[in-house]
């Protein structure tokens, strides 16, 4: 019904060629209770505003266009007291109606606010999300410290279970916004904000940074993948596994290139000597659907182009270019492919 609404609300210009596999990023297509409340409030506001708009602008335009004179006539100053009182009554009535309408909207806002805050939070998943200049670092908290793991730009959550994000920023202000699940919340350096969401429908929901944060603000996307609980548990367990040296010789050579070159200075692969903290954790990079904060699909060609010269794809990014000889690049790609 919501897909139909967004087309009804707009002249049907949205290109229908959007492939279904493409992740959704649409505030009018709620996949969770929070976004559902917001769409309800949006519908109320849209309806009331359309009515008020038609009445007001109609009155104003008709007032002028119904009987326009050809010439500028002499002004009539004599407006009877009785007409004045009639007009005063009309204007006062209109103002009162407007005030009541606005009061209704304030009440609707407070109701929605309370509904948003009322999301049941028992057995919630805690994720600490840190915004960096131009990617997202998510570390899944757990009572048992050994079970904590970190991933980047792709956040899997179990359907039906609430998720509490604690939002931190490492450099400038960012803003977490996954329109299908909830409104946005800023990540401000020096402060910790909390944001609670819940997905009631499995799917891939795309989000994007919504607070201007520099050169690559446009390509700072993230994916929230809502999996059925069992699929999520499998994913979570897999994320906790560390990797060992790959058996395939080219992949092993690729690991050497990774650890002896520039990669290990910024990236970490759990279970190997590479422990750089300033780039995304690549332990399970091959299992992610996209690269470079949802900019490129995760294909070997894209990966090679990205490693070769990131600045050509995302000018201003903090990852430097690496002109590796073809053999090393091939080995490195093979190694990264093993990091499922």
């Amino acid at each position: 019904m919501s897909r139909a609404r967004s087309i009804a609300a707009v002249v049907a210009l949205a290109s229908s060629s959007r492939a279904l596999a493409v992740p959704l990023q649409d505030a009018l297509d709620p996949a969770g209770p929070q976004a559902q409340h917001l769409v309800a409030l949006w519908d109320l506001m849209l309806a009331m505003s359309t009515v008020v708009f038609v009445l007001l602008v109609g009155a104003a335009w008709i007032a002028v266009l119904r009987r326009t004179r050809r010439e500028i006539e002499t002004p009539d100053l004599a407006h009877s007291e009785q007409e004045h009182r009639r007009l005063t009554r009309i204007v006062s009535a209109a103002v009162i109606v407007s005030a009541l309408g606005l009061a209704a909207l304030v009440i609707a806002t407070i109701a929605t606010d309370r509904a948003l805050a009322g999301l049941p939070l028992q057995d919630a998943l805690h994720i600490e999300l840190t915004g960096h200049q131009w990617w997202w670092e998510a570390s899944y908290d757990n009572a048992d410290p050994s079970k904590v793991f970190t991933t980047a730009n792709e956040i899997h959550i179990p359907v039906g279970r609430p998720v509490i994000f604690s939002l931190k920023a490492d450099d400038v202000i960012h803003s977490l916004w996954v329109p299908n699940l909830h409104g946005k919340k800023d990540l401000i350096p020096g402060r910790v904000a909390t944001h609670t969401i819940r997905a009631d429908r499995p799917g891939i929901y795309r989000g994007q940074c919504a607070e201007f944060c520099g050169y690559q603000h446009a390509w700072m996307g993230l994916l929230v993948v809502a999996d059925p609980p069992d699929q999520y548990a499998k994913w979570e367990a897999h994320q906790r596994e560390t990797v060992s040296t790959p058996s395939d010789p080219t992949a092993a050579a690729g690991q050497h290139v990774f650890e002896s070159g520039t990669c290990a200075m910024c990236h970490a692969v759990q279970g190997t000597t590479a422990n750089g903290r300033h780039g995304p954790d690549l332990t399970h990079v091959a299992s992610r659907m996209t690269l470079a904060a949802v900019t490129l699909d995760n294909t070997p060609a894209n990966l090679a182009a990205w490693i070769e010269d990131p600045a050509r794809i995302k000018p201003g990014t903090n990852m430097p270019g690496n002109n590796l000889p073809p053999a090393d690049m091939g080995a490195l790609l093979a190694y990264l492919a093993t990091l499922k």
């Binding site: 100053l77 004599a78 407006h79 007291e81 004045h84």
Partner: protein
């Protein structure tokens, strides 16, 4: 409520009989001075709000610094309060259009202002914090420097006005300028009192 025409017949006004300058709220310069004072008063109020906003960000106050020494700030406040007397007398002399009185009291006001600036120099040495130590230091230096800028500019204004009264060329409305200049000095003093309490006593009470 249609527009009622007032009593008809000629309502001409003969401006020749009117004075060519005025004192107090009917003079344009009064409105200009009060307007600028209102603007800068808002800036002072916001600087004080910034000081207390920064206060909410830390537990101990002042953070890793001793409160400013009281000696110079208090001396300066006394000088400033004392300066109200010559300031008022200069204003009265201006309104009396007493040339000799204006000359004397403007010079006395100038001496007070210069004394205040000199003591302000010592105040800066006794703040116990530098502007780039932390946000508290920045807020303190911002507040004090904002007031010092007004102090220096108003002292310069008064000096120019006083010089004019000695060298001429003079005319009637200069006396109105004297009373407005006194008005602005009231603002400089009025602005200093809350700043003094905030800078010197807030760290001790909070």
């Amino acid at each position: 409520m249609s527009e009622v025409v007032l009593d008809p017949g000629s309502r001409d006004v003969d401006a020749r009989a009117l004075p060519s300058y005025a004192f107090g709220t009917s003079s344009l310069m009064w409105w200009g001075t009060v307007g600028v004072a209102a603007i800068e008063g808002t800036a002072f109020a916001l600087a004080i709000i910034m000081y207390f906003y920064v206060r909410t960000r830390v537990q101990t106050w002042p953070p890793s610094a001793d409160p400013p020494e009281l000696i110079w700030g208090t001396v300066n406040t006394l000088i400033l309060l004392a300066s109200l007397i010559p300031n008022q007398l200069a204003k009265k002399a201006g309104e009396r259009q007493d040339l000799r009185g204006v000359r004397i009291w403007l010079c006395v006001c100038l001496l007070f202002a210069i004394a205040f600036i000199v003591v302000r120099g010592f105040e800066y040495t006794a703040l116990n914090v530098k502007w780039d130590t932390n946000a508290y230091g920045s807020a303190v230096w911002f507040l004090l420097s904002l007031h010092t800028t007004h102090l220096v500019t108003d002292t310069f204004d008064s000096a120019v006005l006083a010089a004019l009264f000695f060298t001429g060329p003079l005319e009637g409305k200069r006396y109105a300028d004297v009373s407005e200049n006194a008005l602005y000095w009231y603002f400089v003093v009025g602005a200093w009192l809350p700043i003094y309490v905030v800078l010197y006593w807030a760290p001790r009470w909070m």
